[in-house]
Symmetry: C2
Subunit: 168 residues, 2 copies
Amino acid sequence: MSSPNREAPSEADYLRLDQQICFSLNAASRAFGSVYRVLLKDLGLTYPQYLVMLALWEHGELPVKTLGEHLRLDSGTLSPLLKRLEAAGLVRRERNAQDERSVHIHLTDEGTALRERALAVPRRIAAATGFDLDEISNLRARLNRLTAALDTAALEENPSCADAVSEK
Amino acid sequence: MSSPNREAPSEADYLRLDQQICFSLNAASRAFGSVYRVLLKDLGLTYPQYLVMLALWEHGELPVKTLGEHLRLDSGTLSPLLKRLEAAGLVRRERNAQDERSVHIHLTDEGTALRERALAVPRRIAAATGFDLDEISNLRARLNRLTAALDTAALEENPSCADAVSEK
DNA sequence: CGCCATTAGATTGTGTGCAATTTAATTGTG
DNA sequence: CACAATTAAATTGCACACAATCTAATGGCG
């Protein structure tokens, strides 16, 4: 059906599911999710919540805005997620006195303490991948380059972001 | 704070957000989502719906079960998604006469026709990544290997799947 | 000072993902 | 044949993602 006269693969060949890099990416991301789900159940965290805790353990208290920049998430995702972390007693949300628009996220003692129990997670995840540290590092670099390229392309593609492109 | 005596990095270093391969993966996956969202809006498809259509264009009619195996999705995700594709007039759902438990998904004429308009998508996506075909192929292979390793680890990790492991 | 554009979060609505449960059909076994 | 175990989908409940909208606070600028 495709490539009737054996030239370079036709456009049709690129519609094959197993050719889609995004599918491999998506599948790998969800496979990670399954492994994390098991490991994080003990800590009472979901995977996105774990990422938020990583950012807080690393930077201490953070405004929602900055947290979102670190995690590439907007307030539509973070607001309810942080509310659940607050309900779990891991963080506190405090209006900034200087700028009342801003909400700063603080770790509670319980949230700080949880870090000790999270220390074993990365090693167990690394073991689950079967990759050594160099391979992981290499793959991470490629993925980061890919993400940067896609971000640029998304801006160029979307006329509504023209300001953002030209302004920077 | 970490690695006080300059040995190999301590466990604490591996809690850094920028060390998490899964975060890079997740970010790349979502960055792809943004680019696809723009390209697929014309076709009236979301990205997961596009993957379903790819599988159907490739294999013709498929039972939900098989579709789920191709896409690594269960009925909890596929049932409502397929209902939306049916509402959009792209697929039909038909009970199998031989096995009434099984539902087969067929392309409508409209669904088949949509393929023509999707042909340009992969090239535009490839362009957005800035990667050449070899790089994409290489990355895909690594990701597939990673996913396979994680799947294995997830089975070993989860006692409730012990049967599935030992049976095969 | 007064007013408008901007900014930070929260909210709303839609669409996945996935665990757990439910329902209906089929299969295996005595 | 009867009946328990299995299987395929659908359903339910929860938690992201993300676009779009809303609200409140801030920052210019005349």
